[in-house]
Symmetry: C2
Subunit: 230 residues, 2 copies
DNA sequence: TTTGTAAAGATAGTATTACTATCTTAAACG
DNA sequence: CGTTTAAGATAGTAATACTATCTTTACAAA
């Protein structure tokens, strides 16, 4: 069977829905490649237009600016990942097993999902690690948040937070632990590859070690008796 | 007694040492104010020059570009914080107490250090939370790392990593836990203030809760028996 | 006193970036 | 067949991120 996966995105993320046209899909495809290649700072709509074979004005009809495009890509990624999470944890009852699957999804290399023809999830995952936080680490964050642009990220956090509570209903910081898992998975990956002395994984550069670190961190906290006492 | 605190910075961070002249000190003072006010993206050397009452060319004699200036500010901050850590943990023997002091320093509002006349540490702390990661989350990171521009950050991590080992010599991930403490302290602070649903502190917006979360996270891991067994 | 040197001020100029506007062509739709 | 709509083509602008050059000021050595 051949299945196409389409993710419904918040309409405020774009001026014209890139998933509804060939040009739009090219914008997504090539922006992922270009940002991955040169980084978000060096990425411009002009270079993107050249890569696609269209003009700057053409891109601006889809996205207000490159910042919005970045938010779009991150939102897309988090939506896709939440779907992966729900798929991979479906029919599993043990919340510990579920949480381990999530940690694995977050901390290990993503494979390209062939059901999404114009998104290379593997590259996108790399982009999220290096550029993802720039989507909200800025002065516009509250404005963008009002437009619900970060909803996919929040939704995923909420899902993970609920798994955490399933593991230990008395744990006091489920949401913070959820966002911590996500961010730490990415930071440790970045550090491992670029500033290895900030990690304990520099020698082998093995993502499996990040998984073990995170599992230790998370399940120590959840199994800890310190909050069952009172 | 009146004490002046000067931090010796890596010479590759600047073209001309800003601590050695009036203009240089003004650059530091006003860049902190401007970045804090408008964010790093909106910050330009032209605006900075106008704020100071000098010209763009004048700033370029001190810093190659605004990215280098950001690295300078972050490096300065981490150096200053390492000094604070060594000061505040001096004469304390219990590594748990020391680590708690560190968590407190990282996760709570910093007060302006009057011994550094042209640096407002309180504003700088805010800048580090929002803009700090941009110093290394880019394509130049390896190059900049070769010039040892991130040494202060690494040094602080190493100090914290050693405290972790003092708490539990058999803990397997001291460096990763150290960098995790630093990054999580900042992220949770940012989320608490701007995307509160990603944390459990949205209601009170109280930094003390971040401290408790981090202490729980860290000491659960360090007290965990899971790695003492083998 | 002169001369050299170095910081800083003043001014100009350039390539690129981040857009906006307008006009034309092409396709798609009823 | 005429109308809407996307997309191509072209132009233009303000701001950004620099680089270059020339002058003034200051202080220090010869």
């Amino acid at each position: 069977m051949e299945i196409q996966l389409q993710i419904k995105m918040n309409e405020k993320l774009f001026l014209r829905d890139p998933e509804q046209s060939e040009l739009g899909k090219k914008i997504i495809l090539h922006s992922i490649q270009l940002i991955h290649l040169n980084g978000f700072e060096a990425f411009t709509f002009k270079k993107l237009a050249e890569a696609i074979g269209t003009t700057e004005a053409g891109i601006y009809r889809y996205f207000e600016n490159k910042h919005r495009l970045l938010i779009y890509l991150t939102a897309w990624y988090w939506s896709w990942l939440e779907y992966q999470v729900s798929f991979q944890t479906n029919n599993i009852n043990d919340p510990v097993v579920k949480l381990k699957r999530v940690i694995n999804l977050l901390a290990t290399t993503v494979e390209d999902d062939i059901r999404t023809s114009y998104v290379d999830e593997s590259l996108l995952h790399q982009i999220i690690i290096t550029e993802g936080t720039k989507a909200y680490l800025n002065k516009r964050v509250s404005e963008d948040n009002k437009d619900h642009l970060f909803k996919p990220y929040k939704d995923l956090c909420a899902v993970i937070g609920n798994m955490i509570l399933e593991c230990n209903p008395r744990y006091k910081y489920p949401k913070s632990l959820a966002s911590t898992i996500i961010e730490v998975a990415h930071f440790q990956n970045f550090f491992m590859n670029h500033l290895p002395s900030l990690t304990d994984f520099g020698k082998n550069k093995d993502e499996a070690e990040i998984v073990r670190f995170l599992e230790d961190l998370v399940f120590s906290s959840l199994q800890s008796t310190s909050f069952d006492k009172e």
